[in-house]
Symmetry: C2
Subunit: 310 residues, 2 copies
Amino acid sequence: MGSGIKVFAPASVANVAVGYDILGFALEKPGDEIIASFKDSPGLEITKITGAGGKLPYELDRNTAGFAAKKLLEHIGETDRGIAMEIHKKMPFGSGLGSSAASAAAGVMAVNELLGRPLEKSQLLPFAVLGEQIADGAYHADNVAPSLLGGIVLIRSNTDLDVHRLHVPKGLYVAVIYPEVEVLTREARSILSKQVDLDQLIRQSGNLAGFIVGLYNADFDLIRRSLEDVVIEPQRARLIPHFYEVKEAALNAGALGCSISGAGPSIFALCDNTLTAEAAGKNMQEVFDRQKIKNQLFLSAINQEGAVLL
Amino acid sequence: MGSGIKVFAPASVANVAVGYDILGFALEKPGDEIIASFKDSPGLEITKITGAGGKLPYELDRNTAGFAAKKLLEHIGETDRGIAMEIHKKMPFGSGLGSSAASAAAGVMAVNELLGRPLEKSQLLPFAVLGEQIADGAYHADNVAPSLLGGIVLIRSNTDLDVHRLHVPKGLYVAVIYPEVEVLTREARSILSKQVDLDQLIRQSGNLAGFIVGLYNADFDLIRRSLEDVVIEPQRARLIPHFYEVKEAALNAGALGCSISGAGPSIFALCDNTLTAEAAGKNMQEVFDRQKIKNQLFLSAINQEGAVLL
């Protein structure tokens, strides 16, 4: 491990209530760690996986981190390099917190660093997205981009990976609760109506625009009024037990807004200070505790760094 | 006319390709002028209308400027004041340039100024919107708000009149062409599908967000990529003869984007400098000239003042 590189990539919250498939932000924790090192035999190999309960495959083509790294190595013509990759899952998967995206981001970052950084970090995005696609089925960057790059990220177009970090006002803080119930991403996608009312589009558009303007102007009241999802949340809420009760608990604590993280079951509450986030987190947790649903609570600022070398 | 007040309110471009019902911006010209002065007999009266070809009613309840001013006077308890209002239309109506909104904005502003400014300008918005509603049938502010307040305006919610002026980068310039063909706003609304594909919502949302981020970051390339309307324009383009030819002509001249102004038939081309706007305007005009369609061309910066005292 003398030549080993250890990378951390964080969890992320996609959709962010009003930006279905186009917004995501990175948390400070939890996240995944990946260690890349040279080995004698040629080719990339996943040599160790911890924290996954035996649920993640070692085959490169079926592993988000492995496949992302493989596509990167193909791109830079280094497929013969002997590289060993250890994946240490340190966050729940199937949680709606971008677990597979974190692994994909950490995977490409670790390999890129090991090889002396042939590409800039931002150039790694397409390979990480390809890795994420293994798990998710769709080519989209709303988890991968924040996990890799940090910040609150707009993906104007997933096809073009036209990705922009938005201004993050000081004080923005988030409480995320993961109730240990199962929501399958593919199912969460399949239940969505393929059509939306024009009136819903107008309201959702106004809220999306309001949220972005609120970020740029540090106008927390505007952010508060804007964080209302009239399209996706009403369709998915029933997949998460006690969702509306949890949401109300967060809003009662003063959260700016509260909605489903990605495809769920995690629920995030955006707040304009740490104390409110702590109170919102506590309130949300109490609902699940009362219902005897095991849960994990994460409190975090918006992570501005994304994937980092440890 | 010793005590007369003369107000100009500008034309405006609503929708702006990616913000149906929630975005609008003000032009420097054309616009309407309204003169308000005291008279001896009690009550508000429209005493003169010019430039309307006899098409505008003198009845307060059927005139956008008159009704807006009447609602303002009711609000401030001044319905007995003797006020004469002259309306001088100096812009085409039925053009998609917010003609009725300009009259409504000028009407409330003139009366408010005449009475010594009992309300702040921004407080006049609800009354101007009520006036505009006479002509349009809908309670919405995407023309009235820019015409009154100036700038590029986001209306997060038309119901709440949650209105925000966006950052306007230096150099933004617009060419607007009005082909003298008839498009009825009500018809332009009625042909729109009441439903939108979820995929269209995602693309339109990405473009809307990209446009706003482009404005705040003065990123003209991002604005260019974002100004693509995948929802409304494809449905309304057929109402405007030669629309796609005109659009192509504007884009060929280097415009950032080109789409329908409001419900049409006017077409706007946003540009990042005056020379490109002039070239885009010329190109658009040539298409209509070739087709022997009478037209008027307007070149303008984004008007940052809105309605002003002359």
